[in-house]
Amino acid sequence: MTANISEFCVEMQNIHKFYGPFHALKGVSLRVRRGEVCVAIGPSGSGKSTLLRCINQLETISAGRVLLKGELQGFVEQDGRFHPLSSGQIAAQRRLTGMVFQRFHLFPHMTALENIMEGPAHVKGWSKDQARTKANQLLERVGLGGFGGRYPEQLSGGQQQRVAIARALAMEPEVMLFDEPTSALDPELVGEVLDVIKDLARSGITMVVVTHEIGFAREVGNHLIFMDQGQIMEEGHPRSMLADPQNPRTAAFLSKVL
């Protein structure tokens, strides 16, 4: 393996994000190592989803730098100025990441199989057969072999989210981003989706997960961040941090959700 300039898969340097006058992220810095499962928790509106969406440029940052595998995202930096990349170059950078959304966002006019094939066939330019083989493998992996012919509407929420995970994996991303992947699910369906994500975590892929599932953070996370009011208030190893939070805000939050 060639020497990499950065051992960090995701590196965020002093990120600020404004929505008009609203200061959503106030100087957030975060480093995620290769193979790490980084879990972000915190109250609603604390900026954790915004942070995640800055990683794959669904949000444009107002200040700071986002680097994936050492490469600056969205801009070329020259003489201290930032030159924005073209939309095509940004699209190419987004292939480094795969994203799973809270509300699945499967393409409703395509079957489960076609949803998963879409990336390989129409972004990577694979042949239909290649893409179909890959998609079928991934369907098996998320426990949905035989469901490929169904439209999203004909699947339960948990099944849809598992298809969405397979769709993101089909692009073979370096980093998987999960934006509250179980928040829109009925309680009895949360388990099947978490099982798939846990499986992935153990496979060694780098992940950043925004979630309210503290149990998940403790079980598979190896890097926990607690966010509040647009800042990372505390950061550390999940087990120690959940057992003995140092910041009073973390302690207050955990006392409410645990």
Binding site: R94, M99, F101, H105, H109, Q159
Partner: protein
């Protein structure tokens, strides 16, 4: 199929179709006496109306039959159909372009799209067609030249903007303004998350429009566009303003002026417009079925 699915995946339990030990409730259908009364009343009215028209000499049914398939009428049907299809194609192409321009980050493109809709929607179609007809008079020569500099190519306008071209551009450009609004409504009806999911896959803008947004917008776009197509069919009769003299209405009017019998020829034209509309509606049905994939049709009937 059921048994095959049963063994795979969690959280999916197919329900057995029918179990023998269950005796279904005996349901006696409700009676609808009101419907039968309505049928009887309507049948009497329809028969009376049918008789009043069919034996009425003022309708000149013999003349109607003579001219229904007369060569100038058939030619008129052909031209009307051609104008409708080509003008609608122009309109859809322009509107597709305009709707993407309106969503553009480039303020000049946005401005052009906005101005186009403002102008073509804001002036009467008849006036626009009159101007298209006068185009060759207003600009006798079309030339490509450097502004205030030498002329490169020059052509007489009447060879380019023929009445047929004037009719197609006039009808098409006018319609594009209305279609732009319909398309915009269709694209706006799609959840923002769809485009984001496609972006997250690394798709480029053009692909997102073509593969993700357009097929979904179609469901909303097709019914009103079907309306517009049928409207266009009948709007072609206005090309008289240019003047373009080969369409169906002009053909039947010419015959009725010669015979002094307007009624049967109005019926001839009406029959053909109705026939073409029926054809278009069949096409619309199949388009809707194609783009309805993955969405179950919801009946709006209550109770």
């Amino acid at each position: 199929m059921t048994s095959e699915v049963e063994s795979i995946g969690a959280g999916f339990k197919p329900v057995a179709d029918e179990r023998r030990e269950i005796t279904r409730n005996v349901v006696v259908p409700r009676r609808h006496p009101g419907r039968w009364i309505a049928v009887a009343v309507l049948a009497v009215l329809v028969l009376q109306f049918g008789q009043a028209i069919s034996v009425n000499p003022n309708f000149h049914w013999d003349v109607y039959l003579t001219y229904l398939f007369a060569p100038p009428v058939i030619r008129g049907v052909g031209w009307t159909l051609l104008l409708t299809v080509v003008a609608m194609t122009v309109a859809i192409t322009v509107a597709g372009l305009l709707v993407v321009m309106r969503d553009s980050e480039n303020p000049i493109l946005r401005g052009i799209a906005y101005g186009w809709v403002w102008f073509f929607r804001g002036t009467p179609i008849y006036t626009q067609l009159l101007f298209w007809g006068l185009f060759a008079v207003l600009f006798p020569n079309l030339s490509l030249s450097i502004p205030f500099g030498p002329e490169l190519i020059s052509v007489e306008t009447k060879y380019i903007v023929t009445p047929a071209i004037a009719a197609i551009l006039g009808l098409g450009f006018n319609e594009s303004a209305y279609l732009t609004e319909i398309f915009r409504a269709g694209f706006n009806s799609i959840d923002r998350g769809q485009a984001e999911a496609a972006q997250a896959l690394g798709m480029k803008r053009a692909k997102i429009w073509m593969r993700i947004l357009m097929p979904q917008a179609m469901r909303v776009i097709i019914p009103p566009t079907g309306n517009e197509t049928i409207g266009m069919l009948k709007m072609t009769s206005l090309v008289l303003a240019i003047p373009f003299t080969l369409d169906l209405t002009f053909a039947t009017n010419a015959i009725s002026n010669r015979l002094y019998l307007p009624i049967p020829l109005l019926l001839v034209a009406g029959t053909w417009y109705l026939a073409i509309t029926s054809l278009l509606m069949i096409g619309q049905y199949f388009l809707e079925r194609h783009f309805g994939k993955g969405v179950s049709a919801h009946s709006t009937r209550v109770g």
